[in-house]
């Protein structure tokens, strides 16, 4: 009966929590330290359909562990049955990369993000007051809330969900093992890695697929500083540019810019792009190779990247060979982390699946 004695039991700092050195610095908010209880509570909430008005949709409906916390759909579908505007984003290594959440960056913290889908009419359509009352009526929840945060409240729900998501670290893919010097990549994967990591430069005979111009070398996600992790990757022409980041910043130069996602587990997270328009990695590679549409906010690095040096003539194409594209896809498959998609600590605590 936590809380009945009038003293708040103190939460246990999360032990054994670590991340690869090459991921770089990370910050946990001072007002939401990682604790065992907060993470356990967050995990339960993440998998609990009571978070939706209908009692049928949980966070895990659109963020399925075996799909690296995506849902396999073009765009997600929640309680309303109406397809949402955006593709479900993978939840991995969220403490690194852009600290602006959603495809257009509209939430500045994971805590702020957490409550938005719960209340969104098409996603979970839940009333926060009703949700708090429901959870407070459940003794096991009440005790966890009491220990973790001293209260059952919307803020505590947000903090717990954020805490669980911060522990979703994917760091045992074959690429990670390669970075740790434990394995070597085969020749095809290694060619793909080199192409991924290079911006092409015909002057020095360097072939590249310029993936790294937006996807950082170790995290394979967007850059964290300011809005460096947002880019217009040429999906739409000028006339069809969506607001993207400009909806948040009001800056017209940000039209059509979307968050650069992590490519961790990318082989599992299709369909691809913010609107799920591409089904396969082959289609994604073909887009970057010869499907890029020009617009005033297209990344200069995409517009200029060309392995034949003809970009200045107004044509945009990487001019990759089919063998090179296959090699890049082989490298992308080294980003799959079986431990991450099967780890029990990330799984549904109610069913154990």
């Amino acid at each position: 009966m936590g809380g009945c004695d009038g003293r708040r039991r103190s939460a246990t700092p999360l032990s054994g929590f670590s991340a690869p050195f090459v991921f770089g610095r990370f910050q946990v908010p001072a007002d939401n330290p990682l604790t065992e209880e907060a993470v356990e509570l967050g995990r339960r909430l993440f998998y609990d359909p009571r978070l939706s008005a209908t009692g049928t949709v949980s966070c895990s409906t659109c963020h399925i562990q075996r799909l690296a916390f995506t849902d396999g759909r073009t765009t997600s579908v929640g309680v309303s049955g109406r397809p949402l505007a955006f593709n479900s984003m993978s939840l991995a290594n969220l403490m690194w990369g852009p600290q602006h959440f959603f495809w257009n960056g509209r939430a500045a913290t994971l805590e702020e993000q957490a409550l938005i889908p719960i209340q969104h009419a098409d996603e979970m359509a839940q009333d926060l007051g009703r949700l708090v009352a429901e959870l407070a009526a459940d003794a096991s929840y009440r005790e966890l809330f009491e220990t973790a945060y001293g209260e059952t409240s919307p803020a505590a729900i947000a903090r717990a969900l954020a805490s669980f998501q911060r522990t979703l670290i994917s760091s045992n893919s074959r690429y990670d093992q390669f970075l740790r010097g434990e394995i070597t990549l085969d020749a095809k994967e290694e060619l793909g890695r080199k192409l991924f990591m290079a911006h092409p430069d015909v002057k020095v005979s360097l072939r590249g697929a310029n993936c790294i111009d937006c996807h950082s070398q170790f995290l394979t996600g967007g850059f964290s500083a300011r809005y460096d992790g947002f880019s217009n990757n040429g999906l739409d022409d000028e006339e069809h540019l969506q607001p993207g980041l400009s909806a948040v910043t009001g800056n017209p130069a940000h039209r059509g810019l979307f968050k650069v996602p992590s490519l961790r587990n990318i082989a599992l997270t299709g369909p691809y792009m913010h609107d799920g328009r591409f089904t396969t990695l082959e289609e994604v590679l073909d887009h970057y190779d010869r499907g890029v549409r020009n617009s005033s906010t297209l990344s200069a690095l995409i517009a200029e990247a060309d392995n034949r040096g003809e970009a200045a003539e107004g044509r945009i194409s990487l001019h990759l060979t089919s063998g090179e594209k296959a090699a890049i896809i082989a490298f992308l498959h080294t980003l799959t982390d079986q431990d991450f998609v099967t780890a029990e600590r990330f799984s549904d605590p109610f069913t154990g699946k």
């Binding site: 090459v22 990591m197 002057k203 070398q217 850059f223 500083a225 460096d228």
Partner: protein
């Protein structure tokens, strides 16, 4: 009695003098904060992003700046009585924030008569080969090439507009040999509240104009070609120059 009354004001004066001296000594020993302001220009004009308004220095057309950032590192203040060395001194200078200027604040600077300030443009060889995040260095950041190549020192991305045609401009300049040290005299002004701010002009045009003038149509991108990178690096050594504080604000007003 007479003696005592005569001594009293003398003692008071001595105590007061000691107090003032002590306070002055104490104050002199207190470190100060020194703010370095960097103001972006393209030639005589203050930088405005995303407007094709600046003439191509070596040829036809006008260029626009989409993104511009550079590393300024290893800041030192040097004087006859000692130097101040900023720890983990790696700053990513950029002008896309809310403020027109980029500000670096040096903390705990001993109050001395410094004769000069010194800093690098780019990243020194040791840090350029390291994966340790120090200051603004981030191996997963936009300025990182790969761990095999190191960091971009100066990043310029934009477009050259000629008639109806707009062609991308990409200048990423790095490599150990292009790290440049810049030193500037401080004219022996002691650090006090009046000089706890120094102003610098960052002239982006200097990248393309100087020891070599660049026609952006002929050279629209610089990345891994070492000769091209060296050309721009010889130019960018003169990119950051001291600016009189009383001149600050005029360009902003003109805007």
């Amino acid at each position: 009695m007479r003696k005592a009354t005569f001594l009293k004001p003398v003692l008071l004066a001595v105590v007061a003098a000691l107090g003032v001296t002590g306070w002055l000594l104490y104050r002199a020993a207190q470190p100060v904060e020194l703010a370095l302001y960097f103001h972006p220009f393209v030639g005589p004009e203050p930088l405005v992003f995303n407007e094709s308004r600046y003439p191509n220095p070596g040829g036809e057309g006008r260029f626009k700046v989409r993104d511009f950032q550079f590393f300024l590192s290893n800041i030192r203040l040097v004087g006859a009585t000692g130097a101040y060395v900023e720890p983990d001194s790696y700053h990513l200078v950029r002008f896309d924030g809310a403020e027109p200027a980029f500000v670096i604040v040096l903390h705990d600077v001993p109050r001395r008569d410094y004769e000069g300030i010194e800093f690098g443009i780019g990243v020194d060889a040791a840090a350029n080969r390291s994966l340790t995040p120090r200051g603004d260095l981030d191996p997963n950041g936009r300025m990182a090439w790969t761990w095999e190549v190191g960091y971009k020192f100066v990043l310029f991305e934009g477009a050259l507009v000629r008639g109806n045609a707009s062609d991308p401009l990409v200048y990423h300049v790095g490599f150990d040999e292009n790290y440049r040290l810049v030193s500037t005299e401080l004219h022996g002004e002691p650090l006090d509240s009046r000089t706890s701010r120094l102003d610098f002009r960052v002239d982006i045009l200097r990248l393309f104009q100087g020891s070599a003038t660049v026609d952006m149509a002929a050279l629209p991108d610089v990345k891994f070609d070492r000769a091209d990178a060296a050309r721009l690096a010889r130019n960018f050594a003169a990119m950051v120059t001291p600016m009189r504080s009383d001149a600050v604000g005029q360009p902003e007003r003109a805007r």
